[in-house]
Symmetry: C2
Subunit: 429 residues, 2 copies
């Protein structure tokens, strides 16, 4: 084994960073054996230098992250600050000064992954980011390496633990959205401002990263259709149960049937209870991958948390250090397929639509005519009368989002339709 | 991209080999883009050269596998023959003549993994074998690379599709073992001679490979305790249901609580219905991994079949080719921890024991005394009388296999114990 240590700088020392530092110290011998050389924590950039950080020598702490990444003697920079700046500049500077980078920064990778990969390649360095998607669950490496000889057609993922906790709570207790969110907040599963989670921004960033790797195509955050889950109601769960389904916030990356384009989207959807994703409980994450040769795979585990995310960071750190010793780099960006990313209107799926309608003869015929005029074929209809009002639940065959949108717009104009209570996509069948 | 192709030889062209050849041909452009150079099928060694093999030029077919691996211009040899010889000699010869090797051969890796890894390292070549464990499911790479910075404590796997199909059928239909086996045979899930599957030999080979990688320790097939599932009965499933459990044939690799030794075993076991492995249906495989930092991960997918196994082989082929172009090798054997492998007697778990006893006063006291004398603590007891006979179902707290064995031996000697109807371990709690 080489005795001269590999030097690692840590940018950020919060929940994840402190776990990375702790494991680097307590498992130093194991890491050295697995890498083939010892690793040394060479510096830790933080915002609050006066905070007590157990196990980290005070002389390693600095507030000058830029000076740290410019040292020139670093082998690897681990970025666990999050957000766009200063993370982006620091990573770029790290490459310029000869370090490889391990990052857990989904927002940055989803927005600027191509430019960062280009910088890594220009300087002959690695950029690894397993921790950016679904915490400890190995996903980037299996998609990029294990499935490198296969053709991925669809990725269906529960990639946000906060929203899965809320939806699971609504499903199992009958709670409404606000009540379930309050519990998630009380238990520390939701942040004080839950917007990034419940509006799907976090999941959309992960969808962009997963779609890019799965389809060997650049997919940016702006390419991902996004719909949050704040409007899912207890009534929606009741409808889902009648369909033999539950509701999950899904990140869905799909290759079109003709193979010539891809889509990426995040929205709540009904999935059958028999689908492996339906039984993913609490704050757990899981990603279901459908490929030509391997068929259906699923990867399941904790999608967040300090220790799980640190595990993913350290797996990358070991790989990057091994590459470093071998004088090589691992697989970089693979975007050769360069498939067009289609807009949401071209996505084809099934829909569950609840309408409040007047309780009088001929309404079903009117509604059915609107669906037919827009080329949306109906699978089942269920009518329920209540106090002069009635509800109509329509489940469609597969249709494009654009056709469904046109249908709904026309339905709203019917005198006999009092309102569209909910529209939910049905996936995973 | 490099234009000179990498040369690949295929040893074996059965269910898996023919799929590997087919995908190499039909996806040649994708493989080239992902590798950075084209790959060329340079030769295919078969036993029956006169069989029609669609898509493979006749001039590539040879019956002389030894001459093929000695060519000297091969970059990668893909071994999908299976069995110990001639596979072992061919792989060793391939290394000696400069090729890296991708293998799907679980029996060989479980028996001679250390020697083969040593041969690969001596010649500076790669030995990859993702396809050897659980078909298409990425397991070797996640354990070896993604979890390289973590400490794995337990691997619990359903790694044999045939037996999972049979047990699932018994569970869902109430069928007996023979009836379920007959159906598995009729559907092609079981071979004419199902011994390797139903007696746990196949799962034991996979357990040896998984334990070795998970614990950075050499674990050979002989180190794995093995018990088949041919004696699981419909009555066992009824007992499991009363416990809120189902029965699975599990491969279990564990680190002892003090961390100083490991065990590997294959046997049927009860697991709670709430455990993610309980809902793995039909011929699917899944492996549940518990680690210090990442917590609980599960990997799920098809564990066998031509196309899924070919997907795993091709993933390895891409990785090995990339390494080849970079002039590097991937991670080899990691056995530095060299932990002792403890015998089955030292395994600690819970037990579900059904006894046929005389229906008279004092029997329970006698039985309880025997458990106490052997240091096995009882969790629950249930008595059921039937026609002068009675049954006693005992569920224990955690105890060593040796202590339980001594208990059962002593129970058999009691006059009031007519027979031990079944002993089943309880896992995953």
């Amino acid at each position: 084994m080489r005795t001269r240590p590999l030097k690692v700088a840590l940018l950020g020392c919060g929940v994840v960073g402190s776990e990375v530092a702790r494991i680097m110290t307590t498992h130093a011998d194991d890491l050295a054996a697995r890498i083939g050389a010892p690793v040394e924590l060479a510096g830790v950039a933080v915002r609050r230098p006066d905070k007590v950080r157990e196990g980290i020598p005070a002389e390693l702490i600095t507030t000058d992250a830029t000076a740290l990444v410019k040292r020139g003697d670093l082998d690897v920079v681990v970025e666990v600050i999050g957000g766009i700046e200063p993370a982006r500049s620091l990573i770029t500077t790290a490459f310029e000064h000869g370090a490889s980078v391990v990052s857990a920064n989904k927002a940055l990778l989803a927005q600027d992954g191509a430019a960062l990969h280009a910088a890594a390649e220009e300087h002959g360095r690695d950029l690894y980011y397993e921790a950016a998607v679904a915490g400890a669950i190995p996903l980037i490496r299996p998609l990029r390496e294990s499935l490198a000889g296969d053709k991925v057609n669809r990725v269906l993922g529960i990639v946000n633990g906060t929203t899965n906790f809320i939806l699971d709570k609504m499903d199992t207790t009958g709670a409404g959205y606000q009540e379930a969110l309050d519990e998630a907040t009380a238990l520390g599963y939701a942040e004080a401002d839950p917007t990034a989670d419940v509006e799907g921004f976090d999941a959309a960033a992960k969808a962009a990263i997963l779609a890019g790797i799965a389809f060997h195509t650049r997919v940016r955050l702006d390419d991902v259709y996004r719909e949050g889950m704040t409007e899912v109601t207890a009534a929606d769960f009741a409808s889902a149960k009648e369909m033999g389904c539950t509701i999950k916030l899904l990140a869905i990356c799909e290759r079109a049937e003709d193979g010539a384009s891809v889509t990426a989207r995040v929205h709540p959807a009904m999935i059958p209870l028999s689908h492996p994703l339906a039984s993913v409980r609490g704050a757990y994450n899981a990603v279901f991958v459908e490929s030509d040769a391997s068929g259906q795979l699923m990867f399941y585990g904790p999608g967040a948390g300090g220790a799980p995310t640190a595990s993913a960071v350290l797996g990358d750190l070991v790989a990057v250090c091994r590459n470093r010793l071998a004088g090589a780099t691992g697989p970089g960006e693979s975007a050769y397929a360069a498939l067009p990313v289609s807009p949401m209107g071209e996505v084809v799926t099934r829909y569950h639509i609840s309408l409040d309608v007047a309780d009088k003869p001929g309404v079903l015929a009117q509604v059915a005519t609107v669906f037919a005029e827009h080329g949306v074929s109906i699978d089942t209809v269920r009518q329920q009368g209540k106090d002069g009002e009635a509800s109509l639940v329509v489940v469609t065959h597969r249709a494009s989002d654009a056709a469904l949108g046109g249908t709904v717009e026309a339905l709203r104009k019917l005198d006999t339709v009092r309102g569209v209570a909910s529209i939910m996509r049905v996936e995973g069948e």
